[in-house]
Symmetry: C2
Subunit: 235 residues, 2 copies
DNA sequence: TAGTGGTCTAGACCACAAA
DNA sequence: TTGTGGTCTAGACCACTAT
């Protein structure tokens, strides 16, 4: 069951999208929202914080909570928390599995994944497209300890949805390292680019809510089709 | 005056760095921290949230707040909120001003900066080095409306510190777009790379706490010397 | 001066982990 | 079962904006 603040956030999002506040570009005051939703100030402020982190509103002390103008364009959040599918709910997201094998960690991977050498892992290589545009070529490893079963059908859909809803895993946080890399022959072929072309590379370590790493990945993004954004408060 | 939660966060950071919790890798419980600091649970949880966002700890419900292992290496937060200087407090950060001029916005810049065409802006081009390694080549514009005065001495130091402490500006949030770009001749020369080399490019729009944009910039990062990290909770 | 968001307190109950 | 963090309420005062 979703927390109350998230319900409020979702409803406020809907109201913003419906243009309910487009005249003033301002949300109702906190006191008004408390009234409207029959919630405490804690909840109302929690909901506003969710929207603020998503870059949809910004609160100004003494003045109100303002709706931000829409930035157009197809950008991916640099913290693509729940996978591409969740980032583009309105677009056609297709994952094509290029490799899927149950293998074992070598020394280097074991170190990265904080597990024993020779630990069983699923290795999954996928090409990911949004609206038929190739976006990324991803190599991911999932510890079999946490993901006992996997097949191509599952990997073609949303792996994160599967792990959360079917396996009952609870996610905690991710670490990402972002740098520039060059495409190898195979990655270039898959993405429709040239070998040696540059790519934004995001190395991602994903942890469960108990702090255990369950998934590491190496993601090469198409330099034309994939742009990222990031919002940060400066407090 | 800093808020109480931030004081607690700073002190906890100090205690973590001092190794006070290195045996268990766990912070004291919330109740214990309430006791130790004579603060409310709100404050204690606020402090923990600050550390969690910085990736220093992660809370596990029912279990405790765990200290995260140090990730080594020199990475820059993708949300380099207060400028490079604040990100590397222990390193030698040098900004060399390559250009500094009071000019006016053309149509394209005016659109980006949400201001009138021909609005006065400072244009500042800087090469930024950390420990004598070239990190980035940055072109930035500051609206004169908010930054009435600027000179090379100020721009050689921390512009953000100047704006905050001397001009009394209060920062709100930033929007960043991250993509790959190629170095032009001048940028390559400054960074000690070859023309045509790839670079991570971050376009940054910075807003005051009242939601007004005051600074836009275009930052090219050295593909070898600059790596970024980003942490995200997956809730 | 009035209105609004920011911080803080005190206390309650819930969800989950570990014993 | 016990202890921990997560959510929620009610109420207070402060900092800032706008008038």
């Amino acid at each position: 069951m979703a927390a109350k603040q998230h319900e409020l956030a979702t409803d406020l999002e809907r109201r913003i999208a419906a243009g309910e506040f487009s005249e003033t570009n301002k949300l109702p005051t906190e006191d008004q929202l408390i009234e409207q939703y029959g919630a405490s100030r804690y909840c109302v402020r929690g909901a506003i914080a969710v929207l603020a982190e998503a870059g949809e509103v910004f609160p100004v002390r003494g003045s109100g909570v303002f709706v931000r103008e829409d930035r157009g364009g197809m950008y991916m959040p640099i913290s693509t928390s729940y996978g591409i599918a969740a980032d583009f709910p309105d677009r056609k997201v297709v994952s094509t599995v290029r490799e899927l094998a149950l293998t074992r960690t070598d020394e280097k991977l074991a170190k990265r994944m904080r597990c024993d050498v020779d630990a069983p892992v699923w290795r999954v290589v996928r090409l990911r497209c949004v609206d038929d545009l190739p976006i990324s070529y991803e190599t991911a490893w999932y510890l079999k300890e946490y993901v006992p079963f996997l097949n191509e059908e599952i990997a073609s859909g949303s792996l994160y949805r599967y792990m959360r809803e079917d396996l009952g895993l609870r996610f905690g946080f991710t670490d990402k390292v972002i740098h520039v890399d060059w495409l190898g022959a195979e990655a270039a072929r898959q993405l429709g680019l040239e070998e040696g072309d540059p790519a934004i590379c995001i190395e991602d370590d994903a942890f469960l809510s108990n702090g255990k790493l369950f998934n590491a990945s190496y993601n090469l993004y198409h330099y034309k089709n994939a742009k990222f954004y990031s919002m940060a408060s400066m407090r």
